[in-house]
Symmetry: C2
Subunit: 447 residues, 2 copies
């Protein structure tokens, strides 16, 4: 590493320490204005332009680095990051101060290092390194920095809709990512959507003595019977009428990517102490392509110790249904409603809580393949895993919907980064390798 | 009413006031020794013998009144009562002091008036009236007074087993009872049993991110699917394998009694604000003869507001299964276990909490029919309702099992007595009519 490069990376590690030191916990409404001021100042000091949009809480920052010469062929890359972090609790499980960047055993430990303050700093560092070497920015580089990702990106859609022209791009890079347990850099081309609903059974105006169960229907039994019509037993098959017809099957390319994925069922089983068989033999395929129906919570009647012989008048199940293209969350809630009615459970109330659509891609858009090609050069051709969709949920769909550009996600984390957990960390070697990767991406985009 | 009779009833109303004034709340461990001392003194002062058994908490009192001449033909009647009462809470809903017997608008209000201090006092009063008129006791009259009825009669079986010879009888009268909404005196010949179990699904060692629901089985779904195999939809039919074969069908006599019962479905619906159809058209038949399966409680995963996308590793259902003859609670728990295993849910844990068997009768034992005949004379032939079993549960089976005598239940309450509720009360007219009924029973048994 050249002395200059070393100095610059060292400087950006200090920036990361300053950034981590601001406890920008959106769920606790902490540190938001300070973080916005810090980022605006940082982008400006690096030679970029920064503007802060405050139409809705929390503000969104638009950062932009424009090369001296822009032609019709100059591509625009947009980086999405969020500046808010998860609460640090439980504090007693941290081995160092959560908001003090701590270097130890080759790790950088602190809240937000992996999700996703480390990624933003790596991106800005690579950009600076490129500028240092070439005297200009590689292409048009934009940043969209939001402050509500950890509280469900409540106003992101408003911002994207209003500022679509500001943020438009040719390719978009997602907030963060990590290497997998096999030390491969994961690059994902999408994520699942979600439909969160509560199902509520109400069979009477009050709880009743349970001796009446001989002739009065209790809400517990009613809810259980309704729920059991929604999922097959022992598999991940959903039985919601009309759902399957709205699912876009994966392309051959997407299937090939997933088929190449390495999954270790025994390791998953051990990690969570699973006591039941997997719902499918094709774990990777299910994670990428299958909608899910999870009962996240059940509540009703007497939940204490021992016995209370009560016939509950109401009972509730909290469901999250992970969506694949082209399922729409509100449509899915309506399908559940219709399904229940058709199966004789029209009395079960379906309360829609929130949802978002899924975005999935084969990572085969031209600008995306240029980036994945660079990854294989930097990390090694067998050390990059391409996935059309993560099993989790995020607002990728919204970006694609409003900004019309392909997306990909990668970052500087690793399998044990523990985002959201105590002792969240990244490896210094991954941080440096990520900076190299980004610098090479910029070099490629400048061609 | 003769002056003497009036004076005696007035004296026993004072005894009731003294009895109610002792707050014998077993659940709160209050007033037990004072109540035992009061009852021992009362029985002795009336000319009976009283002994206190203290082998297990709380003590059981054996009271006995023996006529001067006892022959082989002299019948023995045993009255079962409990001296403990429900807690008075919520206090703010009482219109008078719970432990002060308050006479108002023809009512006697106070905790325990209906359940069942009023009944014991009425029984002792009638016995005294008989003795006053005839100079001797009508037959051998025994009392078994326990102090744990409101906390599931935890040691009653121990006492019955140990003191079976002491309490043996030819006919047994249950603690209390009431007139129904049609102002008929209800005489019941049994009650249902119960089997209380928890069903627990555990699919992992920890809660997991719900994106894994594509391939990992959550405890919520697992529990719901297991539960739904136990009951038919929309009826009260239980689907537990092997259960039906162990049920003793009602006799013709029992069916006739239930067929004569008057039930007002619209009134039941209105009273509880029911939103669903009844599970059966034969409400009276189901209440008397059908086993039930109630989900009294459901719990698992995230039960708060909004959304938490967690795959719960464990979930629990609290079940109470009401039993009819000859279902045994531990056998039923085992049947549920076997049923679940046979249906592929052998991983669901069945935790047995408590249970008791059912006792049912056609009220046609000779001494019982003598008493029900007296009832029809006192109350009117169309003002007595005979039921082979109540829908609720109690330890009648134990009495029959250890003491080998037929049972019947009746008392001085009415449809709005509200046992267990604030402002528990009996009507003075019912109290007096009940004393007349008991006096006539004694006269009949003395023949």
């Amino acid at each position: 590493m050249s002395v200059d490069k070393q100095k610059i990376i060292s400087q950006f590690t200090k920036y990361l320490a300053e950034y981590v030191a601001i406890p920008s916990v959106s769920a606790q409404k902490k540190g938001i204005p300070e973080t916005v001021a810090f980022l605006k100042e940082l982008i400006t000091s690096l030679g970029g332009q920064a503007e802060v949009f405050s139409d809705w809480p929390n503000p969104v920052i638009h950062g932009e680095f424009t090369p001296a010469r822009v032609t019709a062929a100059t591509p625009t890359i947009l980086f999405y990051n969020h500046y808010d972090v998860q609460p640090p609790e439980p504090l007693e499980l941290w081995n160092s101060e959560p908001f003090t960047l701590t270097e130890k055993d080759g790790l950088l430990v602190g809240r937000g290092t992996a999700d996703c303050k480390g990624d933003l700093i790596a991106r800005l560092c690579a950009l600076t390194l490129y500028h240092e070497e070439h005297g200009d920015w590689p292409c048009r580089v934009k940043f969209l920095l939001e402050g509500e990702e950890e509280i469900a990106s409540q106003h992101l859609e408003n911002y994207l809709e209003k500022y679509a022209d500001t943020f438009n791009a040719d390719v978009m890079v997602w907030e963060s990512g990590s290497k997998n347990a096999q030390e491969q850099l994961q690059i994902t081309g999408g994520n699942k959507g979600i439909c969160c609903i509560d199902l509520v059974a109400t069979t009477a105006a009050e709880d009743i003595h349970s001796s009446t169960a001989a002739y009065i229907e209790g809400a517990g039994v009613r809810l259980v019977q309704a729920l059991s019509t929604l999922r097959a037993v022992g598999t991940n098959e959903l039985l919601i009428d009309g759902l399957a017809a709205k699912i876009v099957p994966p392309t051959d390319r997407e299937k090939q990517l997933v088929a190449a994925e390495s999954v270790d069922p025994a390791a998953i089983k051990a990690a969570h102490g699973l006591t039941r068989p997997f719902l499918t033999k094709d774990i990777a395929g299910a994670a990428a392509f299958s909608p899910t129906l999870n009962i996240a919570g059940l509540t009703g009647g007497y939940e204490g110790e021992g016995v209370k012989t009560v016939l509950p008048h109401t009972a509730r199940a909290k469901l999250d249904i992970r969506l694949v293209p082209d399922l729409d969350p509100e449509e899915v809630a309506e399908l559940v409603r219709q399904h229940l009615a058709r199966h004789g459970f029209g009395d079960i109330k379906v309360e829609y809580l929130m949802g978002e659509k899924s975005y999935r891609s084969g990572l085969d858009a031209p600008l995306v393949t240029r980036i994945t090609d660079v990854a294989q050069t930097v990390y090694g051709s067998d050390k990059v895993e391409l996935l059309p969709s993560s099993a989790g949920t995020g607002p990728m769909y919204l970006f694609n919907h409003y900004l019309h550009a392909p997306l990909l996600a990668f970052g500087v984390g690793y399998a044990k980064s523990g985002p959201h957990a105590p002792n969240e960390n990244i490896r210094i070697s991954d941080f440096h390798q990520g900076i190299d990767f980004l610098t090479d991406i910029f070099a490629d985009l400048a061609k």
